[in-house]
């Protein structure tokens, strides 16, 4: 790769990183796993003057269950959620999604924090976080704040992480009852961005009635999209064939895909409908096994 020239700093603490970020302003970019930023620098779509590398900062990579929450450090690599037995108990969806993110080399280095903070609706984790109703901790020189996932994605490459701030942690509520979740995307080949992807999280009561439903869609909207009507179509039902068909239909109607080499709008809506149905069924099966 032959990028434009840039300066590089690898601070050893979060405070130091935040100070640097504050001082350098928008000439600086944060380097986490680098698997979105570096390809852009290679093509010179991104030409930051400074890179602030977070990889030497201790304490930003962890998976822990605490206070009814799964907490994921921003620098946690994709591979760690893919392989964690602890995470898989409640969230088999992470193994689903990680396996579909690029290739093993990318997953060994790409981070969950970077995946979200990049603000790309084509990334897979945003839809998962929407389905799981996550929240995100953001640190600045003035302290830390928490933002719900529905308020996180602003637009193309734009998120609630403001200038001078760094995403530090992802928090996911752990379901108390029966639950199941699943993710799939249709991709042209391994490593491709999704033609369309669907994340589904379901919680059921003892009678098998759906109490909570979260559905996130990948790459069919300028921002990662919550399928609100689809979720509503499931809650209160026994997840019967009709309810699932309605939810799938709503998802296909409510997304806003654009036509590209992956397919036209009709095709993408078709994919969203088909995959939503498949993923609701898969999440439901997993919930009934719990």
């Amino acid at each position: 790769m032959i990028p434009s020239s840039f300066d590089y700093t690898a601070p050893s603490s979060l405070d130091e990183a935040l100070k640097l970020l504050h001082d350098l302003g928008d000439d600086a970019k944060i380097l986490a796993g680098g698997h979105s930023l570096i390809p852009m620098m290679k093509l010179r779509f991104a030409e930051p003057e400074h890179l602030i590398d977070l990889n030497n900062i201790p304490g930003l990579s962890y998976l822990k269950i605490e206070g009814g929450m799964l907490k994921i450090g921003a620098m946690t690599r994709e591979v760690e959620t893919e392989e964690s037995v602890e995470v898989a108990v409640h969230f088999p969806i992470f193994a689903d999604v990680a396996k579909l993110i690029a290739d093993p080399q990318v997953r060994n280095f790409g981070t969950l924090g970077g995946n979200l903070a990049h603000g790309d609706a084509a990334n897979d984790q945003p839809a998962v976080m929407l389905a799981l109703n996550a929240s995100v901790e953001i640190a600045g020189l003035d302290g830390r704040r928490t933002v719900g996932i529905d308020d996180f994605f602003y637009g193309f490459y734009s998120t609630a992480v403001q200038e001078g701030e760094i995403l530090t942690e992802i928090l996911i509520p752990i379901p108390t009852g029966r639950s199941g979740n699943a993710y799939h995307k249709v991709e042209r080949k391994v490593g491709d961005y999704a033609t369309g992807g669907v994340a589904v999280h379901l919680e059921l009561d003892e009678q098998g009635i759906c109490t909570k439903a979260g559905i996130g869609l990948t790459n069919v909207n300028p921002t990662p999209l919550r399928a609100v009507r689809s979720e509503a179509a499931l809650v209160g039902t026994s997840l019967d064939v009709d309810a699932i068909a309605s939810a799938a239909q709503y998802a296909s109607e409510d997304c806003n895909p654009s036509s590209d080499l992956r397919g036209d709008i009709d095709y993408k809506r078709h994919i969203i409908r088909a995959v939503t149905k498949k993923m609701i069924n898969k999440a439901k099966q997993r919930a009934f096994k719990n």
């Binding site: 010179r44 080949k189 391994v190 009709d266 078709h270 088909a274």
Partner: protein, 795 residues
Amino acid sequence: MIQCKTSKEISGMGHSMKRKEDDRFIHGKGNYTDDVKLPGTLYMDIVRSPYAYAKIKNIDSSEALKIPGVLAVVTGKDLEQYNLHWMPTLMSDTQMVLPVDTVMYQAQEVAAVIATEKYIARDAREAVKVEYEVMKPVVDPFKSLDADAPILRTDKPDKKDNHIWHWEVGQKEETEKIFQEAEVTVKEQMHIPRIHVASIETCGCVASYDKVDNHLTMYMTTQAPHAIRTVFALVAGHVGLTEEKIRVISPDIGGGFGGKVPVYPGYVIAIAASFLIGKPVKWIEDRSENLQADSFARDYHITAELAGTKDGKILATRMKVLADHGYTDASANPSKFPTGMFSIGTGSYDYPNAFMEADAVYTNKPPGGVAYRCSFRVTEAVHAIERITDRFALEIGKDPAALRFQNFIKKEQFPYHSPTGWEYDSGDYEAGLKLAMKGVDYDNLRIEQAEKRKKGELMGIGLSTFTEIVGAGPSKDFDILGIKMFDSAEIRVHPTGKAIARFGTKSQGQGHETTYAQIIAEELGIPAKDIQIEEGDTDTAPYGLGTYASRSTPTAGAAAVMAARKLRDKAKKIAAYLLEVSEDDLEWEPGKFSVKGAPEKSKTIQEIIFASYTNHPQGMEAGFEATHYYDPPNLTFPSGAYICVVDIDSDTFEIKVRRFVAIDDAGHIINPMIAQGQVHGGLTQGIAPAMYEELIYDDDGNILNGTLMDYLVPTAVESPSWETGHTVTPSPHHPIGAKGIGESPTVGAPPAIANAIVDALKPYGITHLDIPITPYKIFKALKEKGVLDKNIVES
């Protein structure tokens, strides 16, 4: 199983000897062009056109030249002073090195920056400002001959349209008559898409011109170093670079597949820059440049037709091709064959008559037409015949396997004369297909398919029983720029019995360092591990035409046999002298001559070789060396029977290749492990165009998938677990009965996959889909048939 005549110690033919070159590669000690580091090297980067067709109004280099470390910006006007701005293509057309006034395709070279570092060169590339006047390009080849289409090659004063050439072969009138009278005729329009070899290593060079000695050493990624040296001498001889002053070295190559046969402008610009500055100039393409600007492959629009009887006898085929060559005909074909070996298009079937014709046109796209792992347009021909054969089976309601058995050229018909003029050397097509059907359990698959169809599930079975034509070629018909397509081997055996052998070919991963050594081991009984193989240096290796078109084993491999046999004849004379018997009293077993009836009286090949330097008969030339230039009497005709099974998701139309059984017949096999590896790689490059790869251009000539993010090269994940096997039908004219294996799988796999997918969709009235067949394409086809939302989605 393959019978070996030699011991494992000798490892001649048939031994799965581990590849000698792999030690180097797996230790990271390969030496590729970009690894060549000469003192004082300068770096070149290329400014490329953002437009497909435009006039160059002005090139402003001033800002670039201000960047510290930038030495020069070379333009077409600079080269024009030395008459180096155009160069010939292999098909005797002309191609710009750098444009003086007009760019003809997006990503075409416009200017070259020379700097002390590659990073500086890239910065300077961005700083060169070019002013263009954009013109409406010709993108669609079907419109290139329209009366209102702009004439692209205004550099050719006599050119009044965009037509390049017309070609035809076969029995035109007879074929037409058969089609008029036939009980059944079928016809499909097919596009064999424009694809790219996308080898792991991109192209590049280090041009090192020594001003004092007036000598150029050119390290470069080329599959044909000797021919390239001759081309350079023809291009640059007038400025003093005559052929004896040019040394081309082709170091390790990370995949060629035909894409490293052409002379790209970058090579010539680097030579010009080194010539003018007097320092080494390195140019290494990046991935996007490689994909967007280097020669494409395929891009044939074919109308394929077949006439036959209701009960399945095929009578004639007719094929009409429109070939999109981009702005110049830079195909890599033998000179007399503008469509390469496309006339192999009657395939493995006994056609009484056939007629094929082609027209080539200019468009505003990159030039090319390289033989991507394919012996010159064979892939296109095989796809057409295998698809239209299945189409015919569908039309008359006959099983495609039964139809093939009915029409195969029979074993006893060889040598077989095809209606398009070829003499097939040997083949046993029935045996191959029977083995493949047994391997895949064909009959049970058809039962399973019938059951699945009742449930609305999409499962398909596809066959491809192809004949390849490789090993170009006999000198009476085959040349490139007038140079006959022989190839060469030179064997030098040292006094201690170890050898070095050099060849006119050039391995790019094929394993020549092992297989050539095994051929010589077979003939001389010297252990293959004791034979060092060298290729790619024009100062040391004998002249040859290089490695492509599966020609290395048929030509240079045969040359090695002939040279080794000359040495064995000499060895026999020496053995007779040493053993004090007549030559007629000697018998040979690999590695030694012994006296008939007295096996204890013998001389090993090593003893004989030592004697050739220390105790040779008076009057005999000393030493143990031989050279042979092999002119093949005919081409070789490998064949294969491939069966592919696919499952298609009935909701998302995602395609899974469940099984792929490939039975190849390449005659005698030199190294079964290497042959199998070749088949695995080739099959993967077969699923590539069948399901993934196509270079796509919009109406303005912009490439829409010019990076590997969108040009979809399949990986291990997309590859099924290949099931391979072989039958052995030796070539009667090749000295060791070998035919060549490297390209068969790439040629034979795409129609097997396409046939399987179309077969899966048969219940919905789909008779043909162009490759690459993607889930999106299936969706569109089903939507067009009006079957979506009814039969499939709600099932």
